[in-house]
Amino acid sequence: MAEKKRKERAGGGESRTNKKFKKHSNSKGLTKKSKDKSNMRRKRTGPRLPSALRTELDRLNARISANSDDEINSDVEKDVYEYEEEVPQEESRKNRRFDPVENYEYELPEDFEDENVSSDDDDDDNDDDFDVGGNEGNLIEDLDDSDGVEEEDDGRHLRMLQGITGMSNDAFEGKKKKNNVVISEAHPESEYNPTRDVLEGDGHITVQDLLEPIQGKPGYSKLRKRVQYMDRKSTSIQAPLPKADREKLERMAVYEHSKKDITKWEHLVKRNREAPTIFFGEDVDLGFSTVGAIASEFEPRTEFEKKIASLVYDDKVIEAHKADGSKLLELNKISAEDYMKHRNHIAKMRSLLFHHEMKRKRVKKIKSKTYHRLKNKDKLKAASAEMLMDPEAAKEQARKQEFKRAEERMTLKHKNKSKWARRILERGLNAQDEGTRAAMAEQLHHHALLTRKINTVKDSSSSSSDSSSDEDDEGSDQDRASELLEKAKEKTLKVLEDDEEVPNSGVLSLPFMVRGMKKRKEEAIEEAKLALQEYEQLEGTVGAVNLKPATASGRRVFGMANNEASESNNKIKTDNKKMKMDNYYGNSDSEDDLEAKENLNITGGRKNDVEKDAGPNCVHKEAADVRQDSVFKNFDDIVRDPGPKTTYEVAIFTSDSWRKMKSENGVDANVKKSQEIKEPIVQNQDLKEGEEESDSDSEEQMVDGILSTGPKDSYELPSQSELIRHAFAGDDVEEEFEKDKQEILNDENPEPDKPVLLPGWGQWTHIQHKKGLPSWMLKEHDDAKRKREETLKKRKDAHLKHVIISEKLDKKAEKLQTKTLPYPFTSKELFEQSVRMPIGSEFNPETAIRALNRPDVVKKPGVIIKPIKFEEVHQHEKPEDHKRSGQKRKPNRSKGAVGKMKKQ
């Protein structure tokens, strides 16, 4: 087998071996040869196939032949020949075997066959011969194989000769024949060692072989004739295509057909697709709509329905009903009294029920906490009473309690974990009102109660202090601190507010005692105040830096109010001062300084307070003090707060006092400063009060020394100062504006930071030091600068000297614009042009709105959309001018609108 394959792969040589082998079989008898010849003769005209394909085919054939059974040998042979014939004549040496046309008549296959199968005796000999031949063939083939190249050369040579002489191959074949040497097989033939003929296709048992044994039997000749006929007439039958291919072809055909069929819908679909609006069921009559109408149409269909119907509509039943209905009713009769009684009873019950219901409703609605508390208490009481009375109930109660406790331990529901509690803690407990605080405390208490059992079990030391400490633990550190502060504050406040009643009699009522007590009390108050201040400061540090605590106490508010008042006064003046103030803050004071001053201030103020008795003056001072304080705080804030606001806020909060302070003091001893500061403030305040009064009397009159801004409201002649201000207003307006613009530009496009080196970095030696900044740093800086300049140039107000247009992004307004282009659009312009027209009723005439705003599909409710129906549509027809049956389309858009309006 393997051998064979190898041979086949050898290519052109293969066909020759076949042929040679046949020659050997000739020696046995000519049966095969003659048959082969006849076959070949018929099928010589094959197309020339590429050699690669040919070998492939050959191999296939060979395999089939090897595998196949004896019965299909003939077929196989045919196959073999079929492929062989595809070898062009000149290439195959078989050509030599069959003769030119004259030979054709001469060799009749039947005769040979007859001769060949003449006797059974012959068979053995034949077999022997055959065997020998086969063996020889095998050897020969081996030989052939070895010198395949040579043979190929021979083949070429033959072809050449043929080409030159125009004679058939046979003429030159003789030489070749002589070359064949008969070599016997090495092993005797047996079924274990089959001859080559058996292995090769050629040696296969043919139909003729099979026919031989039944020779002479009845029907033999008939059979033989048929076989012969078949041999003669046989044509190669195409093998049926694989199923998959067949189906594919079928599908293709069907596809072609259905494609053609479907294209007729194309225009229809296209029209529908392109139509801006599709109308469904414009003229569908919805028919009956009432339940009665539908019910009257009812016809019994199922068995059951029919039965029912037959019963209901039975004549007898109807008749009986008509006849006896009244009698039946009579049977139902009850006495009037009974009826009345019954009715009254029902009414009573009903009213009772109703009242009860109303009561429950009312009770259920009660939201009062007190009520519920009392109710719960009652319940508890009842439960406890029950517990005492009934051991079962007690057990139940204990179980419940235990369950609750377990639940609490598991969920920690009351441990400030709820959303509400967390939110409140987040906002700070101090900011809440009393009720909330109480609620929080209550919750914690609840938790403590529920979890206490364990504590008692564990260390048997449950006390209120314990629980409170628990509480403290729960909050975060910050909260605890703030809470502590809060408590302390409250206590001090209490001390402050506590007016000890001076006893009217006894030792304490003695004047010196009273004085002493007063003194002590004052001291205490002072201390308390100090403590309060500290608390507040602490609080300020604990929480974010906020000024709110300042407003918490009443005094602070007063200070703030003052502040505001001064703000309005000094605004005009600040215009020019703004820059100065900025400088002032830029250069000198750091936060700490300010705070230190503040503290000193406070102490100074306190001293004053202590020294001087209570009076209006004192009040002023105190107020001033506090105000100063707040101003400081404000400044603090401002200093901390970066950003554009700074200048404004500075402008607002600067006051006379500041300027004066600066001009007078410079940098002096702080205590002294604080003393000096007060005076102008008090003055200022006085002025303010005066102004307020004047304000109430005559509208915004001028207070001497202070100018009111802008054009005056009243219709009196402007005062001298105002005139002066107006006259000189234009002096540096432009310059200021310029500065403003620069500021804003810097703000919106900040200048790049100057490149700075980390001190000592990269400066190990003096050489590096000399080099200065690395080049990449400089480059980066330059780039940033250039970029900034470019952006500045791109600004809308780059060429407008007198205009600042803010380029700040408004995040809120951003949502009014689309982030990306909506889907089908690819260019921004197109999209923006397509949305340029408003489509609201305010902007369009009544006749156009509906068309502009019509939805994609117009359909009446209740209309069933039928599947699309075929109709002729011209390709280039406008979709509007078309009507469809069932799914009708409006004839004209604008007209459609009118028509619709009419309908409505």
């Binding site: 107006h726 207003a729 403003d740 197109l830 369009n844």
Partner: protein
């Protein structure tokens, strides 16, 4: 005849163009057939709408605006009110009057958007509501404190008055409805009727915006430039402009703390300003005796006129009234070239100080509030002759008013729609400056944070079989994986793009002679 028709067609085309509101999209180069078809249909509809609107304007609008025309050496500004009175009909004659109320000080006025009602406020606390059609007093009250300004809210039922300490809102019957304490001592009030915002500037220079529907304070900004008396809303975009003593005009919107625009208009204090109804023109007057007209599209001066103006006002048709002392001057441009020149002038009795001039909408009437009451004079060609009942209806019935109120409330615009160019709404947002890509470390940190957050999530307790520790662990792992996924995906994507880039780079970077050896993609 033919020429005339042509002329008419041209006119029609002009109006159609106006109603088309800009160029139609050019569909020539559009690849997307479907979109093309849709847009074509849309454009057709727009065209039809515009045509219909143009036709309506041509045939159905009842009246045309007129104006004074001088003959010969006559000058329009020489024409006195008396001479006008001789020519006009009785109804118009009723609009010429002076109301003298000497006690309660200078008056300020405001009209409802439809011009039917007027609120007048005397400095000394006199508030009056007048029906201008019947010239009957609906209600007057004395609030017994300073009133600095009065403004109507969305209809005649409510008005706000800036009083001594706070602004108040009254209804038509003079009942005080609200006291807006947050505004403080307000000097000027303005109402933005599309946004239902009441804007005020108080004596401390703080600008407040309050939503009058819900009462919410929308914005509260410090102008930082002191007190001002010049405040006006640009009717085109709802931007509030303030004139300051430093000669600057700032423009504000309720959603930004910084002014949108700050422009230096005058070297001296700005005494008043006004906006043209189309929003493109602004007139400012300074104390240095100049009136300037600005083009707000370019922020440039169009025209500088000399003269004081304590108060300025544009009429619906674009006439500009300027009042100073006891003299009122009306400027107009009838050439359409935005070149304002003297059109009319009117002087009230000596000693009366004009405080406020205000054109009455849909009427050729100018209301003048002065120190001795208020007057009304005729200015031909000032008012819009045809009203649009969608916008404002002078003959509104109470039912219509109610309808309108509901409609306008439904159509209320959010405050963030106020911007310098409202046509930008709905367009594509300009590409932001490229945000710096987060570095690898940052991304890692982000992922870490996400994972941590995922770890912290509470796992829902499931039913018995599914609450095993192994299942829970699995679930937790899943959650974490899910949190990680976007980051990992991002990373993979990045790698992919990098690889692609690298590949293309390789190809292009090859020397020319070697490029032919680069493996070609199978096509």
């Amino acid at each position: 005849m033919g020429a005339k028709e042509e002329n008419g067609d041209g006119e029609m085309d002009q109006t159609v163009k106006k109603y088309l509101r800009g160029e139609a999209a050019n569909l020539e180069g559009l690849q997307d057939k479907k979109l093309k078809g849709q847009l074509a249909i849309r454009e057709e509809l727009y065209g039809k709408s515009a045509k219909a609107a143009a036709k309506i304007e041509k045939w159905l609008l009842p009246s045309e605006g007129g104006y004074l025309e001088a003959e010969g050496i006559e000058k329009t500004w020489r024409i006195k009110q008396e001479s006008i009175a001789r020519e006009v009909d009785i109804l118009s004659l009723r609009n010429q009057y002076d109301i003298i109320l000497p006690e309660l000080g200078p008056y300020t006025l405001d009209f409802t958007p439809n011009g039917r009602y007027m609120a007048a406020a005397g400095r000394k606390g006199h508030l009056a509501v007048v029906d201008m059609k019947t010239l009957s007093l609906i209600k007057e009250i004395q609030v017994r404190e300073t009133v600095r300004d009065v403004v109507y809210l969305h209809n005649e039922l409510f008005f706000a008055a800036a009083q001594k300490k706070y602004p108040y809102i009254y209804n038509r019957d003079g009942t005080e409805l609200h006291c807006l304490k947050e505004h403080g001592a307000v000097s000027r009030l303005q109402f933005l009727k599309n946004h239902f915002l009441l804007a005020s500037i108080n004596k401390l220079g703080q600008l407040h915006y309050q939503d009058v529907t819900m009462g919410e304070m929308v914005g509260n900004y410090r102008t930082g430039s002191g007190r001002t008396d010049a405040m006006q809303v640009n009717p085109f975009n709802g931007v509030v402009a303030l004139g300051h003593s430093s000669g600057t005009v700032t423009m504000w919107k309720p959603t930004s703390a910084a002014p949108l625009v700050k422009m230096l208009c005058h070297p001296g204090p700005v005494s008043s300003l006004a906006f043209h109804p189309n929003g493109h023109l602004m007139a400012t007057s300074g104390k240095e005796k100049k009136i300037k007209i600005w083009d707000l599209r370019k922020f440039e001066v169009i025209q500088t006129l000399s003269g004081h103006a304590k108060t300025l006002n544009f009429s619906q048709k674009g006439l500009l009234a300027a009042g100073t002392g006891s003299f009122v001057q009306i400027l107009g441009d009838f050439s359409g070239s935005q070149n304002y020149s003297r059109y009319m002038s009117h002087s009230i009795s000596k000693g009366y100080q004009v405080g406020k001039v205000l054109f009455r909408p849909y009427e050729d009437v100018l209301g003048i509030g002065h120190s001795m009451g208020w007057s009304s004079i005729l200015i031909p060609g000032s008012g819009e002759p045809n009203f649009d009942s969608w916008v404002a209806n002078p003959f509104e019935t109470s039912k219509q008013r109610r309808e309108k109120e509901v409609h306008s409330l439904l159509d209320k615009l959010p405050p963030e729609t106020i911007m310098l160019d409202p046509t930008k709404v709905g367009t594509v947002r300009p590409a932001r400056k490229k945000e710096k890509k987060p570095t690898k470390e940052e991304r890692e940190a982000e992922m870490e944070a996400a994972v941590e957050a995922a770890k912290d999530t509470d796992i829902k307790k499931k039913t018995k079989g599914r609450n095993k520790p192994s299942k829970r662990a699995q679930r937790r792992k899943e959650i974490i994986d899910r949190a990680k996924r976007p980051f990992l995906e991002h990373r993979v994507e990045e790698q992919e793009t990098f690889r692609k880039k690298h590949k293309t780079n390789m190809e292009t970077e090859m020397p020319k002679s070697l490029q032919r050896f680069v493996r070609q993609k199978a096509t």
